[in-house]
Amino acid sequence: MVTREVVTPEGRGPGQGPRLLSAEGEYSYRSRLVARDERALAELVDLASPWLLGLVQGMLNDPDESEDVVVETFRVAWDRIQTVDSASRGLLPWLLEIARNRAIDRLRARRRRGRLGERLVALGSAGMATPPHVPDEAGRPGWHVHREVHQALTELPPEQRAAVQLAYFEGRTHSEIAERLEIPLGTVKTRLRLGLGRLRERLAALKDWVT
């Protein structure tokens, strides 16, 4: 496995930055959040905000709205931490999932209102590409994960990567992707399924990295 070449049994790749959250860190944060420890929330905000903003801003292309989504994400997390089993996927992936779903909801609401305008036109060509990779922030917590995922995405065939990008990071449905790429619906489904399947294989090993 490719991931075995990068990730050591100790959980850190050679020469890589610090891990995002250790299992102990996850447990500690969750326990403190359940206990309504505001300091734990502040620490989590500092840790997770760059990744949440990066994801949401890439989807919405609107800094102000992206901040709103991230604030909303932390509010939902703070309210539901006691009732939701966030441990099953990890705390940060849980936050990312919330943020992504909220961003998709907003994107779809925009489309319904027909207010996409130039913003989404501008996104069109960028949507085909791999999410931008910032030169190097190896000291940033989670950078190693970002590099692994980014690498996995760039290794996909371009047509699969475009389908994943449009679906996963822009919240577009099969039909919308088909219309956008001017290809048959079945082809969209196939490309997306293949792309996600490869990513799943590639990224599954990462789940043992932090939990």
């Binding site: 905000s49 994801l55 992206s66 901040e67 999932e97 943020a99 950078w143 679906a167 399924r193």
Partner: protein, 248 residues
Amino acid sequence: MKAHDWFIEHRLDFVARALDPGDEDLFRDHMARCEECAAAVASAATDLRWLPMAAAPVTPRPGFSRRVMDEVVGPRKTVWSRWSWPLAAAAGIAAVLLGGLTFRQATQLAALRAERDSIVSVHRTELAAARDTLSLLQNAERVLTASIDMDGRRGGMLIFADETTHRWKVVVHGIPRAKDGMRYTFWFITGDGMVRGAVVECDETRPGVVMLDMPPGATLIRGGALTEEPMDGDPQVPRGKELAHLEL
């Protein structure tokens, strides 16, 4: 193709949220009933859970963390703001109490000042009277005295006559309080008869002292007398019992 195959085929699409809204709702409803699909979707979501990390991080704008904390858990209260209301309330209460206390003290102070002024006024009057008496006693050219026997007690009447100022100081002492309905009255004995001087109030322990100017229009003052007169009416001539009689 069975209906369930459609759900199996679209599990990853559901995770990616690529299903059209109607299909997404359909899939969600199905998952609520199908443990197999629910578990498969959960597994796929777990495997892909780090996929959002493909996006490059964005450094939050200054103040963003504070905004999150403020909007999620409410504005953090500083030590001052946390205690500002209790302190303000305490200060308000203290101010009211202090104001009340000050007002009360001011009221008491005003009352005390009034009382002091009254006492000072009385004492000044008494002092002036004492000085006047002393002056009269010092300057009296004549001192007349007469004994009064009443109810087995012996008192008396003294007249200090100041010929310079033409004033008399009359002291009645050692006699009981006048009977009910009666009062002691001092009379000048003049060439034209008895002229009323003043009512004298006294008892065994407290002498009666009056300072008298000469009666206006009197041509010749020959002496004084003390009588016990009924309180009703305002007699111009003595009608009661004479207790003392002094001639110059």
